[in-house]
Symmetry: C2
Subunit: 359 residues, 2 copies
């Protein structure tokens, strides 16, 4: 088992990474001991792992809430069903919520924990690659609004992240691929060595080599933890973790959160960010080819459908948490492994970039 | 103008109290300067003060969201209309929300500010006595759930509270009386001198003597600020501010938030707490008479209708943020001016107490 510590001003917490962890009661014990526990999962994940996890939790009272599966359910209405469950069972302020699932379950459970009685503890048990390398770490929680992704939420850190790599065995290919986008992101934004390692190891990773995957999860968590520790509430540097996300969120919003997975949007979004960086004279054509090459090997999309107009994209991108003074701010690349945040670019370049990838 | 400072670990903020303050642009300027501003108010308050306040705000972009008036609208659905307004106008993370209204508007606006893009600034401009002496101070924000009051929320402090005492001129009597309950509370929980002063000044206060009211608001804010400074997140002592509230919230929940005002529930709730304290041997019959006497002079209710059974009350009281290990915890009085929090009482005493006040 590997352990990554996230060290924050107010509290620190461990990320445990390894095989078979959800069957180890001793990992859960310090956080659930004697308290009311509510496991929040979804229709896809619960049949696979709910019983296992219940077996690992010794507590006076354990209940579960099962949500529908999909980003389109990540909204206030679904969130309210978690509150219904908690209140019907009279769960107290000392309760612990446990998120068993991917990014959607984790974000919603975390937000429910942030708001229930103005804040209770929660544990992340991420079961998708994307959640394991990204969304379960760092305390960003929330739901979507019809007009923008993740627009309603809170910073609320988990008390622990327990990542059982065996859960990836049951992860469908498309979800696995979506997670790879966030992995590639860490290389692109601040770890060129890791990026080269990914280029050399991508075939092994795509065949889900266990050892390589455990390394990828650890390195991703380390990369993310170091950024979050410097800027927990995203007042500055943390925004680099959003490479590709402004493009990606726009695609998700335009398509109603049903057709594109978050990681898929981020994948092509990173390629657009690389292209923009080339147009600004920072990346070479070879750099951009390296990005598109790795995305292709990871089976991530490298274009968006023609039905999405660049005007729609620009409008949706204008609803983004990084916007300041009505200007779209983007995470771009000075080099592979060196991201910056800027609003200093000609909007026409942005439109051209989007047009380049409408196929 | 009086100023009370609330000094917290992470940030401090001023409460300005005085006549005509909403017409003083210089008070708003430091917080709104050049930023997008969203005024949130309700159908009753907006016609009276919205235009005035808009005249005091110099900003690039000012919009407003007008909510329906009433505790029954303090829920996630109404909250979402604030998010609709913010997102339709593409309000950024640098926006400022301004709550213009009573406790419901303040609690919802504060919670919207806590959650919008994971947290933006907000200003409280309380226009009811209850909001001026209590709910606008201390950063408790949130909405109700059908199964319990204030069950969904966040701690999110305002950047400033601007209390214009002239707004009380338009406050209807019943709302004024409801606010008096929270004023009386401060005397009961930790300021016996203030309590005696209230007993001597109650007639003047009920005739809305301006000078007496300004003193009452200042003293109430000072009392509250000192408690909140010691325990911002209510891990211990802050709970004494809930004297009468467990009873009061239960009444509000049972009656669907439509028949009882919050302050009315708190009023009779404090009397029940005093009665419980007498049954436990802490208060004398004379003390309880002092409490019922002052409540009566303030036109606050001193009983609940027979239709509410003690069983209903106990069940609703069991859904309370102070509950631990399934035990109802109450704020009770060791003496007038000395509150404690305890779960060490016989439940039969609680039932007897409720029965005593079902008339």
């Amino acid at each position: 088992m590997k352990t990554v510590e996230v060290k924050l001003k107010d509290h620190s917490y461990p990320i445990y990474i390894g095989s078979g962890l959800i069957s180890k009661p001793e990992l859960f014990h310090p956080y659930v001991n004697g308290r009311q526990v509510m496991v929040v999962s979804n229709e896809t994940v619960a049949p696979l792992y709910l019983e296992k996890i219940l077996g690992s939790i010794q507590s006076a009272e354990i209940k579960s809430v099962i949500l529908p599966d999909g980003e389109q359910y990540k909204n206030l209405e679904t969130l309210n069903t978690v509150f219904d469950g908690l209140l019907k069972s009279r769960y107290s302020r000392q309760s612990v919520l446990l998120a068993l699932g991917g990014g959607v379950v984790g974000d919603m459970t975390g937000f429910a924990a942030a708001c229930y009685q103005r804040g209770v503890d929660f544990i992340q048990v991420p079961t998708t690659l994307l959640a394991q390398v990204d969304s379960s770490v760092g305390g960003k929680t929330g739901v979507n609004h019809a007009l923008g992704k993740n627009m309603i939420g809170a910073f609320h850190q988990p008390v622990a992240v327990i990542t059982d790599t065996d859960t990836l065995d049951t992860l469908e290919d498309r979800q696995f691929v979506a997670g790879m986008a966030e992995v590639i992101k860490y290389g692109l934004i601040n770890d060129s060595d890791f990026y080269s390692w990914l280029e050399n190891t991508i075939d092994k990773l795509m065949s889900r080599d266990k050892e390589a995957l455990a390394y990828v999860i650890e390195q991703s968590c380390l990369n993310k933890a170091r950024v979050v520790e410097r800027d927990e509430k995203e007042t500055s540097i943390r925004a680099i973790l959003n490479l590709g996300h402004t493009f990606g969120h726009a695609i998700e919003t335009i398509t109603g959160y049903t057709k594109w997975l978050h990681g898929e949007g981020v994948g092509v979004g990173m390629l657009m960010a690389a292209e923009m960086s080339k147009k600004l004279g920072w990346l070479s054509s070879e750099d951009v080819s390296r990005v598109s090459g790795l995305l292709k090997k990871a089976n991530l999309p490298t274009s968006i459908p023609k039905e999405i107009s660049s005007q729609q994209m620009i409008e949706a991108m204008a609803v983004d948490k990084k916007v300041q003074n009505n200007k779209i701010r983007l995470v771009l690349l000075k080099a592979i492994g060196d991201a910056i945040i800027t609003d200093d670019f000609d909007q026409n370049l942005l439109i051209e970039t989007i047009e380049d990838y409408r196929l």
